[in-house]
């Protein structure tokens, strides 16, 4: 019983990290219609920024500075690498994003070296819950992710800026005719996505207190898988997909027979979901128009 509960809570908190990353992916994909391969590496930079700013010995300040740093980075990437390609083939944008991902990794390696750095942001400790030991940081991760998802949903639904985002995602040209600054909206989306990435980096550090240059790649890929499973472009979908993937991963790691195949199992779920429900759980079906 305790094992089941702790596995589940672990899965939920891991799912929270995936969901946080997936939210960033899904926002950018929904509005800019591009798969931002560099998102995982913004998480990595976020982790390093926290590591650097922890020199202030003030976790909250470090987190805040890391979020600001990631937002600046995300917006800069968008302006320099993606904006010139607006209107070009989606394939070109995708390949540029891969290039940016590699660029960030090698820059991080030049600045910080290839060795893994240890950093402890804050010790939350653990509590006993129904006989199982539960890390408080896991609960914090889950809680913050749920709050962020709710805030994002409300923001997109009820604010002027959020509605403008929906308009841009539906039809860029029509949105422009309605007086919406499309480029501005895309920049804002990247800013939000990067801020979420910084938070994801923080959660990652709470779970495993080390940063390395490749720490963002695998979570990034898995979170994108989560976003597709949940239905890309859907905010609750990203949450659902992230939690699902996190729980599956956590359970799979606990069963010795299939533990080595955990990654394969997760990616197989993606392929199966795409076979039976190509739009993901909560994705909307779009009609192709000429």
């Amino acid at each position: 019983m305790e094992v089941i509960l702790s596995t589940l809570i672990n899965g939920l908190s891991l799912g929270g990290i995936y969901a946080m990353i997936a939210l960033g992916y899904t926002m950018v994909y929904g509005i800019a219609k591009m798969l931002n391969f560099a998102h995982g590496d913004v998480i990595m930079i976020g982790g390093y920024l926290i590591y650097v700013f922890m020199a202030t010995n003030n976790p909250l300040l470090a987190i805040l500075l890391a979020v600001v740093g990631c937002v600046i980075l995300g917006v800069t990437i968008e302006k320099i690498a993606y904006k010139p390609l607006r209107g070009a083939s989606p394939l070109a944008v995708l390949i540029t994003a891969i290039g940016v991902s590699y660029l960030l990794q090698s820059i991080a390696q030049i600045i910080f070296g290839s060795a893994t750095k240890m950093v402890t942001v804050y010790e939350f400790g653990a509590i006993k819950l129904l006989g199982a030991t539960v890390q408080i940081s896991a609960l914090v991760t889950l809680g913050v992710t749920v709050v962020v998802m709710l805030v994002l949903t409300l923001f997109v639904k009820y604010t002027r800026l959020g509605r403008a985002m929906i308009a841009v995602s539906e039809d860029k040209a029509a949105a422009q005719l309605m007086g919406i600054n499309v480029n501005g909206i895309i920049t804002v989306t990247f800013a939000i996505g990067s801020a979420l990435a910084a938070l994801a980096g923080l959660f990652y550090l709470l779970k495993a207190p080390s940063v390395s240059t490749t720490m963002g790649s695998m979570p990034g890929i898995k979170a994108f898988t989560a976003a597709v499973i949940g239905g890309i472009g859907s905010i609750p979908g990203a949450m659902l997909g992230g939690i699902l993937l996190g729980v599956v991963e956590s359970i799979s790691y606990k069963i010795t027979a299939i533990a080595p195949y955990t990654d394969a199992i997760e990616f197989s779920i993606l392929i199966i979901i795409l076979l039976v429900r190509p739009t993901g759980f909560l994705g909307k079906k779009r009609r192709e128009k000429v």
Partner: protein, 379 residues
């Protein structure tokens, strides 16, 4: 230069590689012994060229992104390597065992191509990219966790190596075969269908192209050829280790295709050979702390080239300094649109949008209903 119906620039790559094969072949047969590192480099180059040309079929001509090319290569390397490990003790390390393992590796990779292609290619957008990426990771982790007897697990599968003296010649022949398969496909009616899908899927569908079928065919062909490259790899190395075939390797192949210019087979060949050489040469120059500069360089070049080749704002600059056009001028006596090189078809043509309003606003009033205009412009 055109000699009757024979178009030199259609066959230039066969000729260059064919002559290289002949020259090296004659030199080998007359007892010339090449340096082992040179032979290994030539084998690696051939593997890269096969990979780049086959990926170019999907990325450059079909216009879909595949990030799991190394995964297909991995399947080919393991399956082909296993078959050759079983056959060589019985048949001897000859051409027979090589051909059978090549066929086995290619077939296995092709079957995986079908399994991956069917769910992913039905969908529009970037799904193929993410599914192939997932596929690469699945393959890697499956082979990593096999038992020692079956596929070697973490230690890797030990495979028989072909006689080093001749393997690079076989690799050259395989490159020629890959070129024959891909170029003939692209220049056939089926290839036109594939490029039509790339340029505008809906328009292609409207002209009667079976989009799913052609996407699958191109994808499976590319997977099978990657399998061939994998078998070649297993023959040129002592062990096949699944960790080698990771996401980064898939990206490296993609970089070769992009640097060569998408939709250009000759470009893919040149950049594959160049990058493979750089990969062996640069680490000898950039050692220690500087090693990371190589990745930085690749990333910057990749971004710069893609932006330069695709940014709508740079269209005028591209028009002015078109290297491809300058090169093809060397081989052509005059510009004749009817004899344009096929693989010069622009991959980055902006998708045509048909505006319903424009069609409806065309004046379709019959001419004779207007008085005084029997023959327009005569008065």
């Amino acid at each position: 230069m055109r000699l009757g119906k024979f178009k030199l620039n259609h066959y230039i790559n066969y000729i260059v590689i064919g002559i290289m094969t002949l020259v090296f072949g004659v030199m080998t047969l007359t007892g010339n012994r090449f340096d082992n590192s040179l032979l290994f480099l030539l084998e690696k180059m051939s593997i890269s060229i096969i990979l780049a040309v086959s990926l170019s079929l999907v990325v450059g001509f079909l216009g879909e992104l595949s990030l799991g090319h190394a995964g297909f290569m991995c399947i080919g390397a393991y399956l082909g390597g296993k078959v050759s490990a079983l056959l060589v003790p019985a048949m001897g390390n000859g051409v027979g065992a090589l051909v059978i393992s090549l066929i086995a590796g290619a077939a296995a990779a092709a079957i995986c191509g079908v399994i991956i292609g069917i769910p992913a290619l039905r969908l529009r957008g970037d799904y193929l990219a993410i599914v192939t990426l997932a596929f690469g990771e699945i393959v890697k982790s499956l082979f990593l966790n096999t038992s020692d007897e079956s596929f070697g697990g973490t230690l890797g599968l030990s495979t028989p190596r072909y006689d080093k003296k001749y393997l690079f010649l076989i690799a050259f022949v395989l490159v020629l075969m890959t070129l024959a398969v891909v170029q003939n496909f692209i220049r056939s009616k089926h290839g036109r269908a594939v490029t039509a899908i790339r340029d505008n899927e809906i328009a292609a569908k409207a002209t009667g192209v079976n989009v799913t079928k052609y996407k699958l065919v191109a994808f499976i062909m590319s997977a099978a050829l990657a399998g061939v490259a994998g078998v070649l790899y297993s023959y040129s190395n002592y062990t096949v280790q699944s960790l080698k075939f990771d996401y980064n390797y898939s990206i490296e192949i993609l970089v070769m295709v992009v640097l060569g210019g998408m939709g250009s087979i000759n470009g893919a060949i040149i950049s594959a050979a160049l990058i493979t050489w750089l990969n062996t040469w640069l680490p000898t120059k950039l050692t220690g702390e500087l090693a990371v500069l190589q990745d930085l360089l690749y990333a910057l070049i990749l971004i710069a080239i893609v932006i330069y080749n695709n940014a709508p704002a740079l269209a005028a600059v591209r028009e002015k300094y078109n290297i491809g056009a300058m090169l093809s001028k060397l081989f052509k006596t005059k510009h004749d649109p009817a004899h344009r090189r096929d693989d010069k078809a622009k991959w980055d043509v902006v998708p045509t949008k048909i505006s319903m309003d424009e069609i409806l606003s065309v004046d379709v009033t019959p001419q004779n209903t207007r008085p005084d205009s029997k023959m327009g412009g005569e008065d």
